[in-house]
Structure formats: structure tokens, C-alpha cells
Symmetry: D2
């Protein structure tokens, strides 16, 4: 039985806590920590059998009976907590992104070098049934050599402007998932990035120096071209689709819906809109990623999303941001060189 | 070059005339006849190169240069004109049904016996791309032994009550196409029929002694069960679907639409309604059936829908009507015996 | 906190046990009973926190701390255990069907009369997201007055012949779910039934006196016609579809799949087959029905599938069986009269 | 009655000839010209009523009774024949592209200035039912302000390498249709182009200096971003899809198929592949564009695809080609300036 500590019990921390307490018999949540702990959180924690509740995450790190921590706090704290947890020999599940600053990610990479610590990054979409179907078909050669990979990822509604301002920009906040998907499905590394976009949805987002609509082309080292389009707002819900086109065929996925119901009437033949909320869309994926993390510790197998998988999409995001601003193609090598990588 | 005469130039007669004049180079429409000939018809006929225009169809039958006639007049005249045309050795394309009265159909069958006359019945759906895909897959063994055959056939709106009154009832007017489809796809003959229904759409139809909604189960001599449902009215258009389920799989067709466009918005994911009007839905089928008729004459090959194919659905319709009224299963044998068949 | 006892821990009993232990915090499984208890079952039970394990279900009924029982034993024991449980004032969740014998169901109905016992029948499909979408749309008037209700329900593979022999026949074993769906969606009661079918899949099933393929038409007291087709075997998985057609439109559902993936290659445009296994297809429904049962006890609200809902489909099944054998339409009244009902 | 001459009766010239002779009663093909005239062509021409057959197109231009010509010869002859025809006051339908050389197109533009000649360019996809559904919905505000426009256009198989070598490159040969679609649907003008691609399908194409797979991003002057992906080869047929995403929703089209048949078996749920051949896919569009041309002459209305619509996609193609080679974003202004436009 693994003992788990959860650092940060906002929305996503609680999702993971409930997954573990209900569905992962091999693990037990021994403690949680959150600087904003209150009676509601305590009540919720007790209801799922958690009774050690701290406002200082070091209490968790100092508990020698705790094997692993989940870092679900705000992004700006991820790298420091990661370093602290690694120092205390805890296995780490860290929500994405590790950081927006490549140097800080590099410190985590350095700290992990030669350790036996499992460090998994929270790219939940790798555990989604639809995306896995694409990855599986591609890996197993069903579509032959991958040629064009198209990803559409659009949110139902933009986050508050206060969030936008600290988000690191659309590429590091939203597209980062798609950058990860590009690597996950293609099994290739990015060579160069071209990005464009606009604040078409919200002028407020534009005034905050960000965009809400983006198109990105990425050339990969296997000759494949990846195309991403994003938008912060749709009228029809959360739009998450992929097409992988190869020499032997194409695999594509469409959105999940709450039912397969189709109504035919004088307005048309009307199917359900996609699941609206990302927690509904990725419910099973959140459970699966946590199960996979626990399994990799229990069985001492490599994690399925390692720290380098956490780094690469950040490099791609920085390249995209640079491309957008400087209106030119940007190579990943250029970004890497900037941070003295390799 | 075949010379054709068309008897009856209402809606469907004109459709056939235009198909031949534009798309069948092996045939020429030499003359048309219609008791209600007027200036508009003359103008239309001239515009497609028809200049012999009569009010008496015997003028056509007496023209020795005419090889074949299309009987597109009202149903009650079909059998007599058929007999007259056969007497004059004309090949005949007769719109469905040959008659509602089995005895009259039998006379046509008798007249054709030992003749070399091509006699094709206008079951246009046998020439539809979708229904042909089902027939083709079934005939070629793609679904194995047929087990359940389901046909949905619903009109967008009921015809005028005046039409209903002379229609012969829903089974002889509307379901008759589906009865033909059952035989076309199953390659089996009906054994027994159970039918039920109601006037749920229009009380006026009910008062006219007819129903507007029907469900029919037919057992076939190959052990397959056919299920038909009909309605005289939908809110979403002309609904024409088939599912053929067999030991190796199922083939199903959905409706045709004017485009593949799908709109996603706050109301849902909205596809186009089916093509609304039967002439739009079956445009190509009407052309193909006429081409097939011409081809069978030119090449001296059997017609694809012969006079017995015209009889059988009428027997099924009478069986269904009897089943509805007497609330019991009715065998085709019983109906045949009534008319001293076989 | 409700205490629950589970009587019968075969496949479905264990599904319910796991649902309650993981996902229903208001309830605790205090004990299980099964005549075939063994070490594997004990180990499994312990692993989810169940430590009272009996081979005699009376041990559960005599435990005054137990509030409710789930009857998941073989069908032939359902009615007697129901009577015993009711005598001990336990709330009852009884797997479907209560019995094949109407007289035995009537005894349960009598025992429940004037009691405050919650008695829910395990028609799990009422809790399925797809079927609920149909029921919801129909109840809320989205399709207007229901006119034709079509249900396709086909199993991926037939059960062992040993099961077939004690199953009560296809109508009481398989179609019974569809009979329930007819009532659930139409909110109407059956008037008359016509059924036909054959042993087309397996001659062994035929020799056992059963059929494996069935078609049923049911007329309802609101003028609607329901059409059911069943088969014990498909090549493509578990086929569970409904179409509800009304005066304002139609709502239809298609099958659930494991992903939305579509592969396009030289063989066609290929989507996933339906979920194959009923426990996969109805995973959520099994959870929801148990949650609903617990909720109705906790809140003292009526159960959503009561004992009469358990009776009616059995009457429909007997009517269908009679129709098949006697090749005639059978009214529900006739079946009811036979059992001196009403 | 308009008299038409057709210059060039290869595949597409014959398609137009048959459309006019069968389906455009307002026009008559008086003559055809082709340097490679032979007995087969003569026989075919006679069969549809064409008896004036020349090897020199000037014979057509000198015939004063001829009102309009269709230029269906090889691309390198389009601009000169256009100039000659304009000089003889013929209305012109010119297959796309007018030329690969902007200077030559400019000469045609100059020749047309202040004339009353109708000059239509053969961008047939503007007349396709699916693309028109997208354009129609977009123009009518159904999707609000256009934000992202995605076009997938892939051929079933590459043309012969001999064709590739004179094609002008993928952007001027294949993507040019998509460039036209971008303008047709967005009603906006391109500002800048980024293109990338590779010879992934055929190394022979690569050795010929061309690519077979391309991805293009175009920024438009209304703030919309267009994304095009192309490939010279698929295993599943001719892939022609569009998604237009706007502030109020999205409209998307999928491919046309020969039937709506779906087969369900142990391999999956299998729909038909897209129509394979461009002449099958765009049969109706080819008819409609010719009808539109005739109509614009008869009614003296503007043509629906004018000479500037012929120029712009060539500029976009040159920009894309430049972007690919120089690995940078290229503005349309830069290309225009190069040719002293504006």
C-alpha cells in the first residue's frame, strides 16, 4: 500500500484525491496540504477518509511514510516543490506545465538525474480513450508512415482575464497540450515552428498581450507536418479532435457526447454537442493517469510521461510565441541553444 | 434508334420524357398522348423535340414505327392500356401498380404469355443507388444469410384527401414500394403478413377509411423476417431507410441529403434533412429505370422488373389490408387462392 | 448510513457490490450470501471490505441492522427470497425478472400491498444515458405525440444452450428488457402483441424449443405502435438502438463505442464496433440504478422501477410467446384474465 | 440560342461539350478545335451533334456566328488563346489556371479592361453543392465572423511524373483550387502566406523539384486564418473537406460517397470511401459552372468567377512556393510588387 500526499487541493487536486480514494486500492491518501485550507476542504477531505490536513506542504515531505506526492498547486510553485520533493526522495506526479521557465525545468531535470524517483507530468490527454486510439493505430502501423497530423483544440469559453494574464500565453497554457499530443502520436521531435493568431474572440485578451485564436505548423524530424488550431471560445462546447494521415490511411477522432441521441425535426438532423467541461471530457483520463503513476511506482516501471516530456512542449510553446511575435519560422534548436541545452 | 410513345404526361410522364430526350441517345420520343392535353403541355413537348401530341393513346398504338410505350396515366387505366399495347406488339413500361385488382393484373399476365414483349413495371427504387448497395451486398454474400430486413418509408406530407380516397389504401399506394423492396433484397417470396396501423396523423384520412401510420411484419420463405414501418407525414422530410441484417453482418442505408454540411452551434451538431421530394430523392433512379428498359429492348434481355414483380406486391398489399381489418395473420396463399392463382 | 446485504454474488451481484463499495458513500455492504461461497469469493469480498459471508441468505434477513437486500440469485429463487425479505421488512432490489410465473409475481405484489417497503426491479436500461435521452426527449414533448417506437436489441453471441433451456424463452429472457423500454419510453400500456421468429442462428436453440431471432409488434393504449427486433447473435457486437418517431420529429440513438476513432483506408471508412459486452455497455447504468435505489430509501421517495413495472413485461413476454406458438395476435387482457388479474 | 466553340477537347473539354449538348438548351456547340483531332474525336463529336471540327482554333474565332468559346487546351496556351478570343469579341470560359506567369495573366486583364466580354475562369469547386453550402452559411451569417477556415484537399493518386514536371508545382496545380476556396468562402483577401511540405509520397516527385504533401497557413485581411493541407495520394480516395469556424458556430462538410451504405461486421462499422475520381466528385459542379457562364451571357450579368479571381490564386501559389523555398512568411504585396501590380 502506497501512501500519497497531495499538495494543492484546488479543482484538479480534488479530482485526483477522489480518483485515488475510490478507484486505486493500492494507494491511500495519507495527507493533503494547501495554503488556503478551510472548513469546506476539511469536511470534503474527511468525507473521503483524509484526516491529515496541512497548510504547509513541507509537513508532507517530512513524513517518511509518504511515498509519493501529487503537485497540484499553482504553476509558479511546481518547480520548487518538485525540487523539494525530489530532495526528500518522494515520487512526484506534477501537474502540467512544470514551469514556463526552461531554466527551472532544467533544475528539476538535473535533480532527477541518476535518481530512482518516478516523476510523471500531468499530460492527461495521453490517457484519453480517443487520443489513445489514434496513438495506438499510428504506433501499430495501421496508417503507415505518418504524413500530416492535424489537431483541433478549442475551449468552450475563455478563462477570466486575470487567469489569462498569468497563464504564460495561449501557447504555454492551452496549445501545450497539443504540442504534447504531437509528440505522443508522432513519436517524433519538433524541428521548427510557425505560429500565427489573433485576438478575435476578446479584445480584452488582446489588450492583455495574448491571443485567443491560433494556428501552428510544426515540422517534425520524421518528415511529418503537424497542424494545430486553437480557439478560446466556441458556441458548441469543448472541441477536441485529431486527424492522423499516413501512407496507408487516416485515423480521426471526433468529440465525445453525453449520448448518441440524434433528433430529426424541421430544424435538421441534430446530434448532441460535445461534452462541455474539460473535467467531464477527460474524467476517465484523469483516473487513468493517476492509476498509471501508481502502477509505475508499484511495478518499478518507467512513467508514461517523463520530465523530458514535460520540457519539450514548453520549448515548442516558446518557439511558437517567438514565431508569433517575430513573424518568422523558429527552430527548436534555436530555443534550446538559448537555454544552453544539449 | 427506338421510337417511344408516352401515354400520360402528368408529373411522372414528363420526368421520363425529359430523361429520354436528354440522356438516352438510343431512343427518341416520337409521340405523347394525354386526354388533358393543353397549350402548356404542347409548349413543353415542343421544347424537348416532341411534335406528335395526341389526346387519344390509340393514335400511338396504331403508329407502327413506335416500338415501345410508357404508361404513365392514372392507375385505373394501366391494365387496359397494357392490354391494348400488348395487342399492338408494343413493349411496355408501366408505372406501378399495374392495378389494384388482381384479376386485371392476371389478364395482363395472360396476354404476355409466350409473347416476346418486354413489360417492365415502374418500381423505381430498385434502381436507387442506396437500395442497390443493399441488394448488391446482400446478393454477394457480404452479410451472409439474411435474417431480419427492416424498411422505414415515410412521406414528408400526406397527399390530398381526394388522392387518398382513390389510392387503394396505404398498403397498395405507399407500402407497395416496400413490399417490392422486400422481394428485391431478400430474393425470397412472402409467406404470411401481419399488419397494423392507425390514422394518427390525420383524422380525415381515418374518416376516409384509410390509415396513415403502418407497421407490417412479413415472414419469407427463406426464414427471414421483414419489418416495414410507414407514415404519411414527418417533420424532417422524406425518410427512406433500410437495414438488412444477416449471419455475417448488417448493411444499412440512411437518407440522402443535398449536401454533407454539418453546422455546430449552441443548438447542437446539425446535419441536413433528407431530400424532401420523391422526385429529388429518386432523380437518378428514374433515369436508370428508363435506361434499363431501353437497354432490355435493344439487347433483347429480360426486363429487371417484370410483370410478376408487379403482381406480388399487390398480393402483399391485399394481405396487409386484410390483416389490418381482420386483426389476424394472413398468408399470401390465401390471397392467391382467392384469385384462383397457381 | 444504510446497511446492505447482497444475496447471490455471481457476476451481477459482484458488479453491484463494487458499485456500492466504491461509489455510494451513503451505503455499506454489511453481508453477502451465496450457496456456492468459496475462497475466491471470500478473498474478493474482503478486498472491498465485506467480512460477513454466508451460504444461507436467511442469515442476512435475520440481521436487524440490515436495511435493504439486493437479490442477485438465480431467477427461480427471486420470488421466494422477495417474500422472505418483505416479511423481514427489508427494502428489496430484485434483479429482473421477478419470476417467469405471473402467480409468483402476484404473491410478491400482494405482500408489498400497504407496506412501506421499497421494491425496485433491476431493469438497468432505464438508467442508461442513451435510453434516458430518448425517454427525456419524448416525455418533454420534443418529438410530439409518439407514433412509432422501434427497438433493436441484439446480443453479440448466444448464451450456452444449458442457459437457454432454463431461460424461459427469448421473450422472457431477452425481449423482456425491450418490453420494459416500450413502457418506459411510451408511458403507455400494451394492448396486443404479435410475435414471430425463428431459430436462424442456432439449430440447437431450435431443438431446445426456443428461437434466436424475433420480431414483435405491440399496439399501445395511446395509439402508438412499438416494433422490436431481436437476435441472439451478431458479428459486430452488442446492438442496442431505439428510434422514437412522433408528430414533431424523431429521436434515435445508436450504439456506444470505446472511442470515436474512424479509420479511412482502402477498405472503407471504418468506425469502431459497439461495445461488445453488456457489462461494458451498461456500466454506468448499473451504478445509477443502485444509486437510485439507495436514494429512494434514504429520501423515502418512490422507486423508479416498481413491482408492477416488473410484472408488465412478463405479461408481454407471455403474450409474445403465445402469439409465436399460436400464430395470432394476443391481447394483454387475455393473459391477465388467465391469471385472474384485475 | 448561343453558339459555342470549344478549343481543346481532351477530358475536360469533352465533359463541358456533353453538359452543354444535353443540359443547356440555350446553347449549341457549333464547332470544336483541337490540334490532335482524330477519328475517335470526330465520332464522339458527331454523336452529340457537333459537325464542325477543326485542328486550328482560329477557325472558331473567325466564325462570326460563334458567341463564346471554352478554352480547354493545355495551360501554356490559355493566355494566348484568351487574348486572341478577346480580340475577336468572343466571350470566354477559360479553364484554370489562366497561366502560371502573372505577366501573361496581366495581359489578359488589360485586354478585358473596358470590354463587355464575359470572361469566366474554371474554378469548378465554387459550383459544388458542398462548398456552396459552406459559402452560403458563411455569407448568411450562420457562423458569425469567420475565424478559422480549414481546407483538406487530397488526391487519390499522383499524376504521372511527366505531368508533375510541367504542372507548375503543387501550389499552382493543386492548392490553387484551395486558394480559390479561401477567397470564395472568406470573402477576404490574403495578406501573407506560410507554406511547408515534403515529397513523402514519391521520391520521384521530390527529384522533379516538387513536393507531394503541403501545409499552408494564410492570414487574411479580415483577421481570419486559413489552413490548407494537401497530399497527392491517399488510400481511401479523393478527400475534399472544409471547416469554417466562426464566432457563432462552425460549418463543416465531409466527402461525398456513392451511397450512404454502412456495413457492420467483425471488421467494424464500415462506410463507403469518398468518390474516387474528380470528374465523379464534381460532375454536377462542372455542369453548373457552364450553365452559370451561359446564363451570365444570356442575362448580361457578371460572371461568378472573373479574371481577377483567376489571378489571385496564382499570386497565392507563387507566395506559397516562395515561402516553401525560402522558409519564411511571404506577403502577397511582395509578390504583387514584383509584378508591378497596383
Amino acid at each position: 500500500m502506497l501512501n500519497i500526499g497531495i499538495i494543492g487541493v484546488g479543482r484538479i487536486g480534488r479530482v485526483h484525491a477522489e480518483s485515488i480514494s475510490r478507484l486505486v486500492p493500492e494507494a491511500k491518501i495519507k495527507a493533503i496540504a494547501d495554503p488556503l485550507i478551510n472548513d469546506d476542504i476539511k469536511k470534503w477531505a474527511n468525507s473521503i477518509g483524509i484526516f491529515e490536513i496541512y497548510d504547509d506542504y513541507n509537513k508532507i515531505l517530512m513524513d517518511k511514510s509518504i511515498d509519493a506526492v501529487l503537485i497540484c498547486s499553482s504553476t509558479d510553485t511546481h518547480s520548487q516543490i518538485s525540487l523539494d520533493a525530489i530532495a526528500k526522495k518522494k515520487h512526484v506526479f506534477c501537474e502540467k506545465p512544470i514551469d514556463h521557465d526552461v531554466n527551472k525545468i532544467n533544475k528539476v531535470i538535473d535533480a532527477l538525474r541518476d535518481s530512482k524517483i518516478k516523476y510523471q507530468v500531468g499530460f492527461n490527454r495521453r490517457f484519453d480513450h480517443n487520443f489513445q486510439a489514434v496513438e495506438d493505430a499510428t504506433r501499430n502501423g495501421l496508417i503507415g508512415a505518418l504524413n500530416i497530423l492535424k489537431i483541433t483544440s478549442r475551449d468552450p469559453a475563455p478563462p477570466p482575464i486575470s487567469y489569462i494574464k498569468v497563464s504564460g500565453g495561449i501557447f504555454l497554457d492551452m496549445t501545450i497540450h497539443d504540442f504534447d499530443m504531437v509528440r505522443f502520436i508522432s513519436k517524433a521531435e519538433p524541428v521548427a515552428v510557425f505560429a500565427t493568431g489573433a485576438a478575435n474572440v476578446s479584445s480584452e485578451i488582446g489588450m492583455a498581450g495574448d491571443i485567443d485564436t491560433a494556428a501552428v505548423i510544426i515540422t517534425l524530424d520524421n518528415g511529418c507536418t503537424a497542424i494545430i488550431d486553437n480557439c478560446r471560445q466556441t458556441t458548441y462546447g469543448y472541441d477536441q479532435r485529431i486527424e492522423a494521415f499516413g501512407s496507408l490511411g487516416q485515423i480521426s477522432i471526433s468529440n465525445d457526447t453525453n449520448s448518441t441521441a440524434v433528433i430529426s425535426n424541421s430544424n435538421g438532423i441534430i446530434g448532441e454537442k460535445p461534452k462541455y467541461f474539460f473535467l467531464d471530457r477527460y474524467t476517465e483520463a484523469y483516473i487513468s493517469e493517476i492509476k498509471a503513476f501508481i502502477t509505475s511506482i508499484v511495478n518499478d516501471t518507467p512513467v508514461l510521461v517523463n520530465v523530458l516530456d514535460g520540457l519539450k512542449p514548453v520549448l515548442m510553446g516558446i518557439a511558437a510565441q517567438t514565431s508569433l511575435i517575430e513573424k518568422r519560422i523558429v527552430t527548436i534548436k534555436e530555443i534550446e541553444n538559448k537555454y544552453y541545452l544539449r
